[in-house]
């Protein structure tokens, strides 16, 4: 009886430990804002500041929530609100380097670490991102549109339509079923990335477009005459467009 119990305990412990042994610590939750969950296998638990993150862990953020994950190779991934990313593979040692992530929805900022650039791979539903630079912003919209903005360096996207590259300051937009387009960052795109652009933001921003209230973030808005078609830099007389102010006398 005693032998049977001991055997059961050993076997039970070995079986229970099996999936745990597969977990590889790859970094830490370096900042957490509001609700961030991590799933390792069937287990889902809130991630708090300082928690370790593991290979194959799925990180999910809630509304008005975000987190920065810091990997052992110094890579920093900021996960924006309502986002999901899987930390697929992390090999960073003398024998070789291979770091792979799968982003499925939301917005992210990826700052590469000390591994060679060709070691990084970010899979998304519409493309696989090869990092040729160091700061990349990714936005995966609910309708399937993917946005890939290069903050520094460059990226190479493998898509169903071929390989596309973008350099610093450029953005690649991939709409469902359409060929990727390379262009410059637009105000509406910048607004979507607000939570990972700005440490003070926890959600997408209202875009700075004509007609919007002035948020006072930059000069053009500070001096904008509240939605009028034209600004008026020096003629402070007018609140409603330069020309309009001059009509007040006849």
């Amino acid at each position: 009886m005693r032998i049977t119990l001991l055997t059961s305990l050993i076997l039970g412990s070995a079986l229970f430990a099996l999936p745990v042994a597969a977990q590889v610590d790859i970094g830490v939750a370096a900042s957490i804002t509001n609700k961030v969950d991590g799933s390792v296998g069937p287990q889902t638990k809130p991630v708090v500041l300082g928690d370790r993150v593991f290979e194959n862990e799925v990180i999910r953020t809630g509304t008005n929530s975000k987190g920065q994950l810091l990997f052992r190779d110094e890579t920093a991934v900021t996960v924006g609100p309502d986002s999901e990313i899987t930390l697929d593979k992390f090999v960073y040692n003398a024998a070789g380097n291979s770091i792979s992530l799968s982003a499925t929805k939301g917005v992210f900022r990826f700052i590469s670490g000390s591994a060679p650039k060709n070691a990084y791979e970010i899979k998304t539903p519409s493309a696989t991102v090869g990092v040729r630079g160091t700061i990349v912003y990714i936005g995966l919209l609910p309708d399937g549109t993917g946005l890939y903005y290069v903050g520094e360096g460059g990226i190479e996207l493998k898509t169903a339509f071929g390989v596309f590259s973008a350099s610093e300051g450029e953005i690649i937009v991939i709409r469902p079923g359409a060929a990727p387009e390379v262009g410059k960052l637009k105000p509406w795109q910048k607004a979507l990335f607000a939570a990972v652009f700005d440490p003070d933001k926890k959600s997408a921003d209202l875009p700075s477009v004509p007609g919007m209230p002035d948020k006072g973030n930059d000069l053009k808005n500070l001096l904008r005459s509240q939605g009028q078609i034209i600004d008026c830099y020096n003629s402070f007389q007018s609140e409603y467009g330069c020309g309009y102010g001059f009509r007040r006398r006849n």
């Binding site: 040692n93 549109t145 209230p213 053009k220 001096l223 008026c232």
Partner: protein
């Protein structure tokens, strides 16, 4: 430090996993981390281990950021300062460093916008007795550029505008402006943009005025209610040969204009996607002629909320009510009056804004309502008037 780090790894993992797996995990972590630790050498790596062990430690992050910057790895410094700010939003030193690094990393950006539209006005001359309505076609172009010049961020803006009226040709207006200057990061993380500004205006296809001036915009950082401040001083020179139509020009309007405005803002006031802005401001127009000289105080309150969103946020519809209150007091008396002129202006309005990718459409209504104590005797245009303005404008960004 590596030992401490591994101990923390085991400790954290133990909290998240069953007790039965701790031994196996400890072994795995110890084995798995050894090669990586061996690879991380040098000052940056040593400091990084401290950060990895305690990612919210401001001191460790600062030392790591400084070492990374010395090695030219600004991106690592950016992430480090961000961690400090997220842990302590009031750390102004980290915020200043973050803004400085961010500005240094920011790619050059040039933004073009073309706008066109129609505007209906019920009283295009601002006639006190109701006046004449008209429709104007409008066209605008603007370019905003920000790039590094000699290690400093430099911002330039250019704008061109013109409108033409269906019936009142003498109300047509043209305008152009340019503004340029550096963007400097202050010690507390705010940014200041001193600028040299110039503008020129024309009416009825003739020259009307030019203006040159100096401006300064202070852009605050953080989630506080103070969003920015603008100050400016300029000299405007008017032609004396453009006295016809709805624009009146004379040398007496030549002026030194001093102005300032403060921007206050709040996000998520009533809903998850809204914004409230309140902008008080003051102007002192030191015109050559006493009856053209005035001081003015005012405030504009504007609110925007998202009504609808489609295609996953690519397209949005916003509602934006606003109101402007303004008080203006002139220094001198006009002929036929015993007192100096004082105006009170109230302009409520509403905008419906649709955005889709780089396209914006704005349907706007403003009720411009100006009351003046010069409301008897010789009642001139622009003194006491009512003007309904309805606009439909389209903008495309490039």
């Amino acid at each position: 430090m590596a030992v401490k780090s591994r101990a923390r790894i085991v400790g954290a993992a133990a909290r998240r996993l069953s007790l039965a797996g701790v031994g196996a995990l400890a072994l795995c972590a110890a084995l798995g981390s050894s090669p990586a630790v061996a690879q991380q050498t040098g000052e940056v790596q040593d400091l990084f281990r401290q950060v990895l062990a305690n990612p919210s430690d401001a001191g460790a992050n600062t030392r790591y950021a400084q070492a990374a910057e010395r090695q030219g790895e600004l991106r690592k410094a950016l992430a480090a300062y961000e961690r400090i700010i997220l842990a302590d939003p009031n750390n102004t030193q980290a915020r200043a460093e973050y803004e400085r690094i961010k500005a240094a990393l920011e790619p050059a950006q040039t933004h073009f916008q073309v706008g066109f539209g129609l505007q209906y006005e019920s009283n295009v001359r601002l006639d006190p007795h109701g006046g004449r309505s008209d429709i104007a076609g409008q066209l605008s172009l603007r370019m905003d550029d920000e790039r590094h010049v000699g290690g400093t961020s430099w911002r330039t803006g250019v704008q061109v505008y013109g409108d033409t009226h269906l019936n009142s040709g003498n109300a047509d207006f043209m305008y152009g402006s340019v503004s340029t200057g550096p963007v400097l990061t202050m010690e507390n993380g705010w940014r200041i943009h001193p600028s040299l500004n110039a503008e020129v205006g024309g009416a009825n296809y003739n020259f009307l005025f030019y203006s040159v001036g100096l401006g300064a915009a202070i852009e605050t950082r953080g989630a506080g209610w103070l969003r920015g401040m603008t100050f400016g001083v300029s000299y405007a020179d008017f032609t004396s040969s453009n006295r016809t139509g709805v624009f009146h020009s004379e040398n007496g309007r030549d002026a030194v204009v001093v102005g300032g405005r403060v921007k206050l803002g709040w996000e998520n006031v009533f809903t998850m996607q809204d914004f409230l802005s309140i902008a008080p401001g003051a102007v002192y127009n030191i015109a050559r002629a006493q009856d053209d000289r005035f001081w003015q105080v005012g405030v504009t309150a504007a609110y925007a909320t998202r009504l609808a969103s489609f295609e996953g946020g690519v397209g949005n519809v916003y509602l934006a009510p606003e109101v402007t209150l303004q008080y203006r007091a002139y220094a001198g008396q006009e002929p036929g009056h015993n007192n100096s002129r004082k105006d009170t202006r109230v302009v409520p309005g509403m905008k419906l804004i649709g955005t889709y990718e780089n396209k914006t459409v704005v349907l706007s209504y403003l009720y411009d309502h100006n009351d003046s104590n010069y409301n008897d005797g010789v009642l001139l245009d622009g003194r006491q008037y009512r003007n309904h303005r309805v606009g439909l404008n389209f903008y495309v960004d490039f």
